[in-house]
């Protein structure tokens, strides 16, 4: 019964549109997410197969070997060859799976992002997210976690000229197919940077900058960035809007922001 349930839940919803895909993953919207989904499906079919196989055999045993009058149980303490078989096969499968999974981990996390990657600083705080974009120089200014405070959410180092060009945003605006690297900080406690459609999660840890998370959004649309690490009484509603738009729309938004940015952001030496 469980076996049927396990299979039915997956099969019926696979590929279904989001509006009715109640039981399954939201459609993937990032490049690494597509690779991660392949691995998820691989493990899903592997474990689903193992589950069905073991349970069918198990239930067969439970029916076949129920107590019956006059039938005595087999007197058997075990079988070393069988032990060897069911030690060796799982070991091989698990190590193989580790190889596949670790290869992908390297691909997704360890690899250098492409040359045209845009770096965006993200600071999480109780209870929200803030974003800082590079200004006209195209490069984020230097920052230091030690400088992070309520007035300087990103720990901007004002001695770096590039910092002055940077601008801040309450929405995470992204261009489709354009690689993005996140410079992740937290002002107070540990928060989670979680975007289910991008298949990405990373904790933001106070006192350190995490800069190895990068991804390429592949579908335009609105998404939500959610905090998924318990962070206090406002945790349940800690989120931010993500807009993935075409390159042209992004450039337009970016230009407007750069123009207004250095004047309105709290980065100019005057406001310090």
């Amino acid at each position: 019964m469980l076996a049927a349930l396990f299979l039915a839940l997956g099969a019926s919803a696979y590929g279904a549109p989001r509006t009715s895909g109640l039981w399954w993953m939201p459609d993937v919207a990032s490049k690494s997410g597509e690779q991660i989904d392949q691995l998820t499906y691989f493990i899903y079919y592997l474990t689903g197969g193992v589950f069905i196989l073991t349970q069918v055999v198990y239930i067969y045993f439970l029916i076949r070997y129920r107590a019956r009058r006059g039938v005595r149980a087999t007197y058997l303490h075990g079988d070393n060859r069988l032990e060897l078989v069911w030690t060796a096969i799982p070991t091989a499968i698990f190590i193989g799976l580790w190889g596949y999974s670790n290869h992908l981990w390297w691909d997704v996390i360890h690899t250098e992002s492409p040359k045209d990657t845009m770096e965006i600083a993200v600071t999480a705080y109780q209870f929200g997210f803030s974003f800082q974009y590079p200004g006209a120089t195209g490069k984020l200014g230097r920052s230091d976690v030690k400088l992070i405070s309520a007035d300087n959410l990103f720990g901007n180092d004002q001695t770096d000229l590039a910092t002055k060009e940077d601008f801040q945003s309450g929405v995470l605006e992204l261009a489709v197919d354009k690689p993005v690297r996140i410079r992740l900080n937290s002002r107070d406690v540990i928060h989670g940077f979680y975007i289910p459609e991008f298949r990405i999660y990373q904790d933001a840890v106070p006192g350190r900058t995490i800069d190895w998370v990068w991804f390429i959004p592949t579908k335009t649309g609105s998404y939500q960035l959610a905090c998924s690490q318990l962070c206090g009484s406002g945790h349940y509603n800690m989120k931010a809007q993500i807009e993935v738009v075409s390159q042209a729309e992004f450039d337009k938004w970016y230009k407007e922001k750069v123009a207004a940015g250095s004047a309105s952001s709290g980065n100019s030496p005057a406001s310090k």
Binding site: Y58, R72, T74, L76, L82, W86, Y201, D203, V205
Partner: protein
């Protein structure tokens, strides 16, 4: 070597009960040093905490299904840190419910039920000892445990109420009052866990000493019943892991109250240090909560299949390797914590490897029922279900062990489903089975089998209805520990699943009623139990039900391994450990 250790403690000091003077009421039922009474004290206390933890879970499920709705009946009676003036849960109060549900279930229910109850009751009886090595420390351990429970629950009454940073209490949320807003509750949590740790350490030292030194003549290590092996290994894990949690709790207490900065981001503190300390304890803890259940279930399966356990030594070695590997997998809780990403690859590898001994155990359980003559008692139903539920919990763990998939499902309901399949479908089903199985020995009466099976059927169905769909919520991207999923665009469509889960959870809660009624009714009115109602081979079934003070009239001698069922050439289909094999019996050398 096993032979030389056995029986080195003089038994004259604990002569059989006939020689004991009548104990006063206080010494017999309150400050008792008899391991059987202590086991029952643990049993009643942790069943009470099971109700408390269950009610907290009902609160959690109510909020998730009907966010913002006033709590029926008791809503307006609850304190203001927990509910609004209209009687609906506050988000911060909800975090408190989640935190205390997990804390109560882990430290006051599963651990004491497995280790306090069955460790205490079974170890001396199964190894042929009159009592534990240190009866005084044993009694102390129970009273410390009770104190820790009272301290933890007292957080309900302190200003700002329950601690609210999760049972994992990640710093610096937990270590700074201005971040968590529950300084008193969080401090109480630290103190409660510290005391609870003392109880665990006292119990563990006692079990290890008893098993090494007080085995009856002939009870070699490889003749120990599997529950004793499991509890022995668990005690070693407790002794090595629990002090780390105690130290971490003490450090957290200092950070909270005395301005130290072990875990704060400034002043050279390190937030991730908490996670390393917590999970260095926390992962062995996962095995502390499942190994004893595995041992109990192994025995129930063998007895009710009328077969020797398949691969006895493989079962022992699998548990030993789980214990060893259990200390080098803690980092798989931290793949996305900001820890060095090279470490994640290493921890992913050790995690994949530790799945192997669990697989071996599963295959051996299947081997045990193969060719058996299976009696479907209530205990057996729970034990059989344990195996299937453990398989689901084990397989879902593989998703998280793969680091890239963990990027997606970490801290979602997928992990909530996983842990409940292991701890409820696994540990708690094992505990239910063990209670039905050893109840006759504990109380001298039988439980009602029909009501037992009704309990089993309801628990099995509603357990799966409650926890299986949580996998789907997790894949849907539902985060853990959020008080209101309706606030997120991507979760609104899955809200009907939340309602379904909550209704199932309420039914699961109600399914405990037949168990409790059966349990308490049978203590007083159940039919009298014979010495050996299940026709088992191990030593506890050779003495009266319930056994007298001192357990054995004379210390038994052990002649074979624990599971000699259906031996060819014998009229009976079981050969007790304390009876020499008849000439006709063809006992296998193994």
């Amino acid at each position: 070597m096993a032979e030389t250790f056995a029986h080195t403690v003089p038994v004259e000091a604990h002569a059989p009960h006939a020689h004991h003077p009548e104990l006063s009421f206080f010494r017999k039922y309150i400050w008792s040093e008899d391991h059987k009474t202590i086991a029952l004290q643990y049993l009643f206390t942790s069943l009470f905490f099971l109700l408390v933890g269950g009610l907290l879970a009902m609160g959690v499920r109510f909020q998730l299904a009907f966010p913002g709705a006033p709590v029926p009946l008791i809503g307006t009676l609850l304190p203001s840190w927990l509910v609004t003036s209209a009687g609906a849960f506050q988000p911060g109060g909800y975090n408190g419910l989640v935190t205390m549900h997990a804390t109560v279930m882990v430290f006051l229910v599963i651990m004491p039920l497995l280790i306090g109850v069955f460790g205490n009751f079974l170890i001396p009886l199964k190894i042929g000892a009159p009592d534990m090595a240190f009866p005084f420390i044993n009694a102390l351990s129970y009273w410390l445990f009770l104190l820790s429970g009272i301290v933890l629950l007292s957080s309900f009454f302190v200003p700002a109420g329950f601690p609210a940073s999760g049972w994992t209490s990640y710093a610096p949320l937990s270590s700074h009052a201005q971040y968590n807003g529950t300084q008193a509750g969080q401090s109480v949590w630290c103190v409660g866990l510290f005391i609870n740790g003392l109880a665990s350490i006292a119990g563990a030292a006692n079990y290890i000493t008893t098993i090494i030194n007080m085995r009856a003549p002939g009870m070699k290590m490889f003749r120990l019943p599997l529950p004793v092996w499991a509890l022995f290994i668990t005690a070693i894990l407790l002794l090595l892991a629990v002090p780390v949690l105690s130290a971490a709790a003490a450090m957290l207490f200092c950070d909270l109250n005395f301005g130290t900065s072990f875990f704060s981001a400034s002043n050279y503190g390190q937030p991730l240090l908490w996670q390393h300390l917590f999970w260095f304890f926390g992962h062995p803890e996962v095995y502390i909560m499942i190994l004893p259940a595995m041992g109990l279930v192994s025995e129930i399966l063998a007895v009710n299949s009328r077969k020797p356990i398949f691969g006895y030594k493989a079962m022992v070695f699998a548990m030993v390797s789980i214990a060893v590997l259990g200390f080098i997998v803690w980092g798989h809780h931290m793949f996305v914590s900001g820890m060095n990403i090279l470490l994640s690859a290493t921890f992913s590898f050790s995690t994949m490897v530790i799945a192997v001994p669990s697989a071996i155990k599963t295959f051996n359980w299947m081997g045990t029922v193969w060719g058996g003559s299976i009696r479907y008692t209530t205990a057996m139903c729970f034990a059989l279900a344990f195996v299937s539920m453990f398989v689901i919990g084990g397989l879902s763990g593989i998703f998280m062990a793969a680091t890239p998939v963990d990027l997606f499902i970490h801290h979602t309901y997928f992990i909530v489903a996983h842990i409940h399949y292991v701890l409820f479908g696994g540990s708690l089903f094992g505990i239910f089975g063990a209670i039905y199985f050893w109840f006759p020995k504990m109380f001298g009466r039988m439980m009602n089998e029909t009501w037992g099976k009704i309990h089993f059927a309801l628990a099995f169905i509603f357990f799966n209805c409650t926890f299986f769909p949580m996998h789907n919520l997790g894949l849907n991207g539902m985060m853990r520990r959020i008080a209101d999923p309706m606030l997120y665009d991507h979760l609104q469509s899955s809200q009907p699943i939340n309602v379904f889960i909550s209704v199932s959870a309420f039914a699961l809660g109600l399914s405990t009623i037949p168990f409790l009624v059966n349990f308490f009714y049978s203590i007083f009115k159940g039919p009298k139990a014979p010495n050996n109602p299940w026709r088992s081979t191990t030593l506890e079934w050779t003495v009266p039900s319930p056994p007298g003070h001192g357990n054995f009239e004379t210390i038994p001698t052990v002649y074979h391994g624990p599971y000699e069922y259906s031996v060819p050439g014998m009229e009976e289909d079981y050969l007790p450990q304390n009876q020499p094999a008849p000439e006709t019996a063809r006992v296998a050398a193994h």
